[in-house]
């Protein structure tokens, strides 16, 4: 610690701190403009100059480190005069039109403080810059630019996008996006970081221009992907007018993507349903909550009495809070009396939870996002973070640009693959041979961590024998990549540690999804890349609370805390004072099958457009047509509701309620109500309470707030016991957190695995998918989402994102496109063994012939008409990543 005296006040500060930081600790404000904590020190605007004892000239406090015994004066008269001069220069000696400055931002405040708001020139004019108005979310008016270059620097240093450029020099510098005066036409990813950091309003959120400044900000969590960025929701008169990143968020560190930052318009979409509705004679009829709840309760009772509890299923939602998912499964288990309860994890990461749970004892990320900055090598398998987890993607990108090794295994040359040292562009569906071959190289070249193996692995010798047949040459033939590249990747991963593994749906959505996850874990175990900083197995979860949904017990075989039913039965029955059903429950895919064959009679779907997103739509349609009763709880009349719903219960968005979400790195964070509820809509937890109460379970569902629900969860879940609402005020806590004085856990399995001191490597045999190409179906298609559209686009399409991604596209290799004589933008028909769909076509120059990729974002396209019935052999997760198709001109 250094002792420093600033303006006569003495303080002790960390040795690495700057004079600016030290002053701010003391509550002494020094004006800054080019400074932003997210960026590297710059020292350009010079506004933060201070006098330091013994230095001949003033120094910029933002770039000067403190020294022991230093004496600083921050606001001597001459310094203040020079600051005022600098500010006046920035207004171009009064020529800048100050009326358009953002009044919340630093520049305006400083001008006000120094009495410079009244321009002293009569001929106020512009510098000739014309506003750029073509971007749907961001307006640029460079007349207000003061050349602090925060936009340029944040685009480089935080987003890694390099869109903003400085052209020319001196006072002739102009800022351009990829050399042009248009963000819309540039490679901009619309993360809004430049608008957020701009200290004048030269780059501004369009919503502010249209709606005015927020009068209140509420800290909450983004409703999109599983990264779990914290957001600051700006509201005005009960309406969201802006969303900003949270500067001190441990996850997002003051950054957001286009979805979190700008795609909030859906909350106010005119087609929000805000009254309950019942379908009468095929037509939807508005009704009261009382009638709707009675209608639901009576129908469930009726079906219960006729077919028994296992004829009813409940589907929780990855979009809903932990508390709501907890209530959904509690409702299924004690009100209905069935284990037929599941969540969206079934169609994405259930294999991760199962596979990692089987090998390590905990089905969740072993490490944290903060390990990215500590790692030396990252291997990404079937995951495309810059589009689907953009904040994690940006951090991986920045780490790569700063010199870490990046290895990408993906059939597509994703943005990160193009930056990677090694890209193994495998044929879809061949993860297992490749992962086994990587393990083979690690073992045969003796790149294993012997100490780790001795201490923590019980079956290395047996496993070695199994691996001998998986030479890189053998895998190369199956996967379509060079054996030498497989060797190189294995060497880099094994020898340039600590190394992190990231995987996504490209591993799980396969017939060997769970096997794939275990094969990934094998690599970490062989090389000792687990249980330490900068390493681990890190699934990137798809939706905001998909980790939490299953963890709360929306899984037919698990109770809250991801505890197997029999292991938790005694404790849960004691706390709930109710019996938990003994029958094995159906997972979501089994519920569909059961409905199709007449077993399942009723389904309550919360926040999930199953019809649109499940594979093999014909099969889903048959199943849903066979149901007697379907409750849909959502905020839009989604495709499932439109076609099959019996009753519609209008829920609120996560902007309109309290609760918690759990992100990909096991972090529980607070969701806070910023607006609403809209009309008569209600939070999911309230709706479940009401139905349960109507059905006679008032005692079990007498919650007055999400916090009360959470406290019941804490009683049941040991690993979350220490996480109280009170402790979640800033940044959340990562479980396990067994007691209220426990700080939470950043890294799992440090000394022992959750399941014991030692674990075993798993021998994964290769069982090729039955989905194969033929003359009729010569192309292998993978489906996925895109940066600008999220899943079925329920939210993003209603938020202006069509401007970037108007409909679904199928991407083909150049060779295939030329053979078929297809033109970009042309409509094509995708035909599989299961159905057909029409999308637009585009060329992906980096795809290999015979492979294709398509988005599934447009309800009108209904891409899941063509995906098939293949599923993960252990968790039933659909094989979205492999469908044999042919392309026809539409």
């Amino acid at each position: 610690m250094f002792r420093v005296t600033i303006d006569g006040i003495e303080g002790r500060f960390e040795e690495h701190e700057t004079v600016l930081e030290a002053a701010r600790h003391l509550g002494i404000e020094i004006p800054t403009l080019c400074h932003d904590k997210r960026l590297e020190e710059y020292g350009g605007c010079r506004l933060c100059i201070v006098r330091i004892n013994g230095r001949s000239r003033p120094e910029t406090s933002c770039t000067t480190r403190i020294q022991d015994g230093m004496t600083v004066e921050t606001s001597a008269d001459d310094i203040e005069e020079e600051r005022k001069t600098l500010l006046r220069l920035m207004t171009r000696n009064g020529e800048m039109d100050l009326s358009g400055l953002d009044r919340r931002k630093e520049f305006y405040h400083h001008l006000e403080h120094y009495g410079l708001l009244q321009a002293d020139l009569p001929d106020v004019g512009s510098n000739g810059a014309k506003p750029w108005e073509d971007h749907p979310f961001i307006r640029v008016d460079m007349d207000k630019c003061i050349d602090c270059y925060r936009c340029v620097r944040i685009c480089e240093e935080v987003q890694g996008q390099f869109v903003w450029q400085r052209w020319n020099r001196g006072d002739r510098v102009v800022l351009l996006a990829d050399g042009k005066e248009s963000l819309k036409e540039s490679s901009c990813v619309s993360c809004g970081a430049c608008a957020d950091t701009c200290p004048t309003g030269a780059i501004e959120d369009l919503s502010i221009e249209k709606e005015g400044y927020p009068d209140m900000y509420t800290r909450s969590v983004c409703p999109y992907c599983g990264t779990g960025c914290e957001i600051s929701i700006g509201t005005r008169n009960g309406k969201i007018v802006e969303i900003l990143p949270v500067q001190d968020s441990p996850v997002s560190k003051g950054h957001l993507c286009v979805k979190g930052r700008y795609s909030f318009g859906f909350a106010n979409s005119p087609d929000r349903i805000t009254d309950p509705m019942i379908r009468v004679n095929g037509k939807w009829k508005k009704t009261s909550w009382e009638d709707a709840i009675r209608f639901v309760g009576d129908n469930f009772r009726n079906i219960l009495s006729r077919y028994g509890p296992d004829s009813i299923g409940v589907l929780g939602s990855s979009r809903a809070t932990n508390e709501e998912n907890y209530l959904a499964q509690k409702f299924a288990r004690i009100v209905i009396g069935t284990n037929n309860v599941d969540g969206c994890a079934r169609v994405c990461h259930a294999p991760t939870a199962a596979g990692m749970g089987y090998t390590l004892g905990t089905g969740a990320a072993t490490n944290s996002f903060d390990d990215i900055e500590k790692t030396h090598t990252m291997m990404l398998i079937g995951v495309n973070p810059t589009e689907n987890h953009p904040i994690v993607g940006a951090r991986i990108k920045e780490r790569t640009l700063k010199g870490a090794n990046l290895i990408v295994i993906d059939p597509r040359k994703t943005e990160l693959a193009s930056l990677a040292r090694i890209h193994l562009q495998i044929k879809p569906g061949t993860n297992i041979p490749l992962l086994n071959a990587l393990a083979n190289v690690i073992v045969t070249e003796d790149l294993v961590d012997h100490r780790f193996l001795n201490e923590r692995i019980s079956n290395f010798d047996v496993f070695t024998k199994f691996l001998t047949e998986w030479t890189p040459e053998r895998a190369a033939g199956i996967c379509g990549v060079d054996a030498s590249r497989i060797r190189e990747a294995a060497r880099v991963y094994a020898t340039s540690g600590p190394a992190m593994l990231f995987h996504g749906l490209g591993v799980t959505e396969h017939s060997q999804g769970t096997d794939g996850v275990m094969a990934v874990v094998n690599l970490a175990l062989l090389t000792g890349n687990i249980g330490k900083e900068g390493s681990g197995v890190n699934p990137l979860r798809g939706q905001n609370n998909v980790q939490g949904s299953a963890h709360m017990g929306c899984d037919p075989s698990k109770l809250t805390g991801y505890v197997p039913i029999e292991a938790g039965r005694q404790k849960f029955e004691e706390v709930w004072k109710r019996k938990i059903p003994k029958n094995k429950g159906l997972d979501e895919m089994q519920m569909i099958d059961s409905a199709a064959s007449g077993g399942l009679k009723a389904l309550w779907i919360q926040g999930w457009d199953v019809y649109l997103t499940n594979p093999d739509m014909k099969h889903t349609e048959k199943a849903f047509n066979s149901l007697e009763f379907m409750v849909i709880q959502d905020f839009f009349l989604n495709e499932t509701a439109r076609k099959f719903g019996s009753v519609f219960l209008p829920a609120v968005t996560s902007y309109e309620k309290d609760g918690t979400f759990m992100n990909s790195e096991r972090r529980v964070q607070r969701v806070r109500k910023a607006i609403g509820p809209m009309g008569n809509s209600k939070a999911d937890w309230e709706i479940i309470d009401l139905v349960a109460q109507y059905m006679g379970f008032g005692q079990d569902f007498s919650f007055n707030s999400p916090e009360e629900v959470w406290n019941e969860i804490r009683e049941l879940w040991d690993g979350g016991h220490g996480i109280t609402y009170g402790r979640l005020e800033n940044g959340g806590i990562q479980w396990p957190c067994p007691s209220e004085d426990h700080p939470g856990t950043r890294i799992l399995h440090t000394d022992r695995f959750t399941l014991g001191k030692k674990t075993s490597l798993v021998e994964i045999k290769y069982l090729p998918t039955s989905e194969v190409t033929t003359v009729d179906y010569p192309i292998l298609l993978s489906t996925g989402r895109s940066l600008f559209q999220f899943n079925a686009a329920t939210m993003t399409n209603r938020s202006g994102n069509r401007a970037f991604h108007d409909t679904d596209y199928v991407y083909l290799s150049r060779g295939d496109a030329e053979r078929m004589e297809l033109k970009a933008g042309e409509r094509v028909r995708l035909v599989s063994r299961y159905g057909e769909a029409v999308t637009k076509f585009s060329v992906d120059y980096d795809l290999k012939d015979g492979t294709a990729f398509a988005t599934f974002n447009d309800p009108e396209v209904g891409l899941n008409q063509i995906t098939g019935p293949q599923r993960d052999s252990k968790q039933n997760t659909p094989e979205y990543k492999v469908t044999a198709i042919r392309i026809e001109k539409a």
Binding site: E41, Y42, G43, G44, C45, R46, L47, I49, R57, P58, T63, D78, E81, E82, T85, L86, L89, M90, R92, N93, G94, E95, D120, L121, P122, D123, I146, D147, Y149, F162, Q165, R166, W167, N168, R169, G170, D171, R172, V173, L176, G179
Partner: protein, 481 residues
């Protein structure tokens, strides 16, 4: 990306024909050939200093050589040139070239660094940092890769010292560069030569080629296991690239903004590796120090300024040319003795080390030339270029010219330099857009430029403005009536 970076520079497009110099020496000599000088302002891209200040106003067309003479008993940097230049390897060897390199390769690197340190040699680019200390710092860094960067971006108008050293004695610079590399553990050098010196680029390039061909450069020099590689980089027309951090960024292909120090290049320099950045004249001292020993060098000069200094005089002098003097010679001896006063007209003042420093009025000519001594009278030693100006140049015109130069060359990173220089230019060129400026505004702008600028460009303009007000108060006041 490349276009964006290139837009920073002010290089005329290829094949633009003759360039006319806008530099300060040409500006103060404009009345000697008004038609010629006026062509400089018609150029789309300005040329600031072709290093022909002895024949100013100058152009790229045709050229004479300046008078070159040693006005010291111990010529150091000019020792070869006054014997007749050494433009071929054979000739260089004949006059004793590479003796220092051979001697150095028999020494331990730390011995060389100690020798340079004991000589009290300080950087001749203006900053005056002790060269031995700089080398010692790089030698002490644990890094496999280290670099020598030769700053041959002599951009200060008025100076043509490095230009002549390169054109007339190229092997000396290369020899010194290799010694610097050997002494600090670097295996590779970059010589960054400004584009305005095409002949220097030519001589250095062909000299290096000759040396590669004869095993004076490349793998295993003189059969030792020491290998050394030299790469020549051409500047693209930017004054700030003479500042070392901007120069390094320019070599790296980045936008050549001035960067914060620390970290200093000796710790994290070119491509993030420890780097010695020395200017041409500094290195030209090295062979002499190795051959004659540090004590002999330290005996020359005075005070904290040891050895000799090369100075260049502009065309207004009776005897324009390049001279080597002992440190400690008085300004008067230089101006009136060596320079012989002005050809005609009354001397009003001199600008030493480029225009972004204080003006020195005749009343201060008794000062002895040395780093600290020049600072004490509000000036700088700088590169050692000396521009005298006469009564044909008013202070208003001079301020307008200098602030225009700064505004044109400012990288734009810091506010005072980017906008303050333009504001001063507007005031003094009468382009003040209806705003009335006061003498007090001038004071505040000068202080702000001097105290808050990031590097010596804006800061130097502040010094210049303050010295103008101090030494020519009447003329400055008259601008605000």
């Amino acid at each position: 990306m490349v276009d964006e970076i290139n837009s920073f520079y002010a290089s005329p497009k290829a094949g633009n024909g003759v360039e006319y110099c806008s530099g300060t020496a040409c500006f103060v000599a404009r009345s000697m050939d008004p038609a010629k000088f006026s062509k400089s302002s018609m150029q789309q891209v300005r040329t600031y200093c072709l290093g022909k200040c002895y024949e100013a106003p100058s152009s790229s067309e045709g050229s004479s050589s300046p008078v070159i003479s040693a006005k010291t008993e111990n010529p150091v940097v000019l020792e070869n040139i006054i014997k007749g230049s050494a433009r071929t390897l054979d000739r260089y060897v004949e006059i004793g070239g590479f003796r220092a390199l051979r001697k150095a390769l028999d020494m331990k690197p730390s011995e060389i660094v100690d020798e340079v340190d004991r000589s009290y040699l300080r950087g001749r680019g203006g900053a005056g940092f002790p060269t031995g200390k700089k080398w010692a710092s790089v030698l002490s860094q644990e890094s496999v890769e280290k670099y020598i960067v030769v700053n041959a971006d002599e951009g200060d108008p008025g100076a043509y010292i490095d230009r002549m050293l390169m054109e007339m004695d190229p092997f000396r610079l290369l020899e010194a560069t290799i010694i610097a590399g050997y002494a600090t553990g670097a295996r590779r050098a970059f010589i960054y030569i400004r584009r305005e010196y095409p002949e220097a680029i030519g001589t250095i390039t062909s000299a290096a080629q000759e040396m590669f061909d004869s095993n004076y450069l490349g793998a295993g020099i003189f059969g030792t296991d020491f290998s050394f590689d030299v790469k020549i980089v051409t500047g693209k027309g930017s004054y700030v690239c003479g500042e070392e951090t901007a120069l390094l960024r320019s070599i790296e292909g980045k936008r050549p903004e001035v960067a914060l120090r620390p970290p200093y290049p000796t710790e994290r320099g070119l491509f993030g590796k420890p780097t010695v950045v020395n200017n041409v004249e500094t290195l030209a001292n090295i062979p002499w120090i190795i051959n004659h020993g540090s004590a002999a060098f330290a005996e020359i000069g005075f005070s904290k300024s040891r050895g000799t200094k090369a100075i260049s005089l502009n065309s207004l002098f009776r005897n324009p040319g390049l001279y080597e003097i002992d440190m400690g010679t008085t300004i008067d001896q230089v101006v009136n003795g060596i320079g012989g006063g002005l050809k005609s007209g009354n001397l009003k003042g001199i600008i030493v080390g480029g225009p972004i420093a204080g003006i020195i009025p005749p009343s201060r000519f008794g000062t002895r030339i040395g780093y600290e001594e020049m600072k004490a009278i509000g000036g700088e030693l700088g590169h050692g270029g000396i521009i005298a100006f006469d009564e044909g140049t008013s202070i208003r015109d001079l301020i307008s010219h200098v602030s225009s130069f700064v505004a044109y060359e400012s990288c734009g990173k810091c506010t005072p330099c980017r906008l303050g220089s333009r504001t001063v230019e507007n005031i003094f060129s009468g382009n003040n857009k209806g705003r009335s400026w006061t003498r007090n505004d001038y004071e505040i702008l000068s202080d702000t430029l001097l105290e808050t600028s990031l590097c010596g460009l804006g800061g130097g303009l502040g010094e210049f403005l303050k010295s103008a007000a101090l030494n020519y108060p009447g003329e400055v006041d008259a601008c605000f009536v």
